[in-house]
Symmetry: C2
Subunit: 468 residues, 2 copies
């Protein structure tokens, strides 16, 4: 059965238009001027009155299993925070399933239809972990790109002068990691079901050149998204200088790791030269404003990126560094934050630009802009219908500005992903959130008494980063 | 009838304790270790299981009538934004009543029990406007301090080299403004009903010394809060240099305007010397992080303020510059924003500190810390009970961190103000929000076609502020 959304305000490229939208199967069949598509008996009719229709947002960067660490990790910069994250990382497969379900629900109910899970997978149980994640995403019905976190250098490698730290366990060498990725791609990459595998090296700072290049080769061969952290912190910037004697972006470019399939999370410490180089490759920068503030990472040069023509999308980052997973919150903050870095208001991000970044920009970042991110005939039906009569969308002024700059709550009324209705009247149709809540309630986590990783590194970090 | 909240996690100064809390009339009668206060037939019993009890937050700075401009004003810095705000300011008394109701509901449902309304009042209809605001606040039952915005210099005075601008209408002279304030104090100041009048000169930049001093005299004589904008923008900083040849804070101090009853909104451009001077007077700085970013005003030096012992509280600012009125959002952003200005994480604001700033810090800022802001015997019962079983407060980790750093939604379960239960099971008891919504839905505002104020000043602003 087809679905006809009649006379709805829809976000078209950069502005709102009143249109009729006809959905057929997984796809958007027709977009036509309001009132022109006929009501027929085989069409389910949805009134667009007092509604707003947007392409689903893409959450360009998160770590789903961190749902279990929400509210848990103290106020620390990335490198020390990470020590506590490692010490409290979930180790049970069931937790990965529910972490995916929770992340997917939070994404969908804040306007998202697709996410990039830069996923921790249990060493030695990679297949089972991936299976749990895929089951979680398929049970919700969200479109998901899963890029398992891989690295072949120890934790200490991510610190300036990291050679002075205890080296800890060494991860598997590059060739084993790449063989594992080949197996995971063969087993789980399934575009027809909305599940995609990406290559997800942790970041240059904990990966050898062989691993970074091997991932690029797999990304080329299978046409998969290549996703990694990039220069999130000043410490990583110093690691690049120590190790390469040049910008990390230039090094990645030299290795052949940058293309239009590449998406890079954070980029807080990229230079103007880096921005120009990234823009020339067609890569995407994923901006995670909440996480960048929570971890004190700094202010990513987003206005410079946009002016240079670099594609920028938004991410929530994991729940250990953004103790919420709400896309509208990340979009609001990412829109207003950068005004303090440029007094010329003609350069400020507008609500319309922010929505383009979150939709078509997000789709580019996960290498899916030929399928999703715009409301047009032939695109897949990943759509979100918002209720403009909700208190948080009143009074009637500019609905796009209310959505981006307000604090919309419970305004997501209907969500379709790949044509399937996932949410109706604000309620999840595919999974029961109450069961998730019961699971989350039952498990009590408290800050670790034993902080072995943290204790090993705190004084080193303080010495190299705070007393220059 | 007394109310006994049994075995509840309560925020006590800087940490959580499990206590019994007995309410009697308007007051907190007793706070005792959990399980020690007896159940008696004349006591209503409330289980504290899976609940969190906090003193109500104080919204230290807002402008209630701007509810009507939510989502309306484009992306501009304060001085230009203000031109559009003036052009679209509500002029009907009914709008002021509903603006107060809306602001109060948003405050209460995001954990607040008191607000400072730096209120626009219609020139020539000041008594009627104030009456509408007071009726609005009393209908909701919130504790409200209303400081009518007054100024005796024209709009142009707030710009560097403002003498070059058309001077527009001149407001009434200082003595008439002060006489008006005496009348409003006599008519509306009513602490027994939770309604307080404050002195609210717009800011030094649009007020003569006579008006600033006259307000200080009234504040002294009636022991009222003295509230004003302070150095919100770089433009205001330049106005102070042009007009006084010294720091605006030093000038206010010389005039005798700073005391423990003074609360100053923004302070984005205060210096270390200003901070030391403010701290020595016992004044309060009200931090409005969302508005400061939305208007590109800059980054207030909040960590320096805290280290200097200056009292800092949080505000939402009006809905024209923060298109939401959610205190938890302002608290979250104000907590994490300042990490980018100090790499030493030992100086970062913790969730516990943020809650102290929002409660006891907020109470000090409205000169009410002897009555509200802490959970202790003899204090008035302005309390908020949160539901820890809501999805946004899971999993069970650190409830204070989840509240401050997460995105809690619909977690406010019960609210008492002056002992009166205002919210029960998340629903307003005193007013029907659906009626407010109907009123807001009926009025459609669109950006003004005619932007006379804006057109008069844009080129001047660009010349003096962007091309130095």
């Amino acid at each position: 059965m087809q679905t006809l959304i009649q006379s709805v305000l829809a976000f078209q490229n950069t502005s709102l238009e009143s249109v009729d939208v006809l959905l057929d199967g997984q796809q958007i069949h027709t977009v036509a001027p309001a009132g022109t598509l006929p009501t027929t008996p085989d069409r389910q009719i949805i009134s667009g009155q007092d509604k707003l229709l947007l392409p689903g947002f893409v959450n360009g960067h998160t770590h789903s299993s961190q749902v279990w660490q929400r509210g848990l990790i103290p106020q620390l910069p990335l490198e020390l925070w990470l020590a506590d994250v490692f010490d409290s990382t979930p180790q049970q497969l069931e937790q990965f399933y529910w972490g995916a379900v929770s992340t997917a629900i939070d994404t969908v109910l804040s306007g998202g239809t697709c996410l990039m899970d830069h996923a921790y997978v249990i060493p030695g149980r990679e297949i089972e972990t991936m299976d749990a994640l895929v089951r979680g995403y398929r049970s919700v019905g969200i479109r998901a790109v899963i890029a398992p976190l891989i690295q072949d250098m120890p934790f200490a490698a991510g610190f300036p002068s990291g050679c002075l730290l205890p080296q800890g366990t060494s991860p598997k060498p590059a060739e084993q990691q790449l063989a594992l990725m080949e197996a995971l791609i063969a087993e789980f990459h399934d575009p027809d079901q909305g599940i995609y595998i990406g290559l997800g090296p942790t970041g240059f700072h904990r990966c050898s050149d062989a691993l970074l290049q091997g991932c690029a080769e797999l990304s080329d061969r299978h046409q998969l998204c290549y996703h990694m952290h990039l220069l999130e912190t000043r410490a990583q910037h110093r690691v690049a200088q120590e190790r390469y004697g040049m910008s990390a972006v230039q090094h990645l470019s030299n290795l052949g790791c940058l293309s239009s399939r590449t998406s890079l999370a954070h980029g807080v410490w990229i230079s103007d030269n880096d921005i120009a180089l990234l823009a020339s490759t067609g890569a995407t920068l994923v901006h995670n404003p909440v996480s960048n503030l929570r971890l004190g990472s700094g202010l990513a040069p987003i206005l410079n990126c946009l002016q240079a023509g670099l594609n920028v999308s938004f991410g929530c980052d994991g729940a250990a560094s953004n103790d919420a997973q709400n896309l509208l919150e990340a979009i609001k903050l990412g829109t207003i934050l950068h005004r303090i870095s440029d007094s010329d208001y003609e350069n400020w991000i507008t609500p319309e630009q922010a929505l383009a970044m979150a939709t078509v920009g997000g789709a580019k970042g996960v290498h899916l802009s030929d399928r999703i991110g715009t409301i047009a005939s032939g695109m897949e039906a990943d759509l979100v219908l918002y209720n403009l009569n909700h208190a948080s969308m009143l009074p009637r002024t500019n609905p796009l500005q209310l959505l981006v700059l307000g604090r919309p709550t419970e305004v997501v009324e209907t969500v379709w992903i790949r044509g399937q209705k996932i949410v109706n009247q604000g309620q999840m149709l595919t999974v029961n959130p109450n069961i998730l809540n019961q699971v989350l309630q039952q498990r009590i986590s408290t800050p670790e008494q034993k902080r072995s990783a943290y204790d090993n590194i705190e004084s080193h970090y303080r010495k190299v980063m705070l007393k220059p």
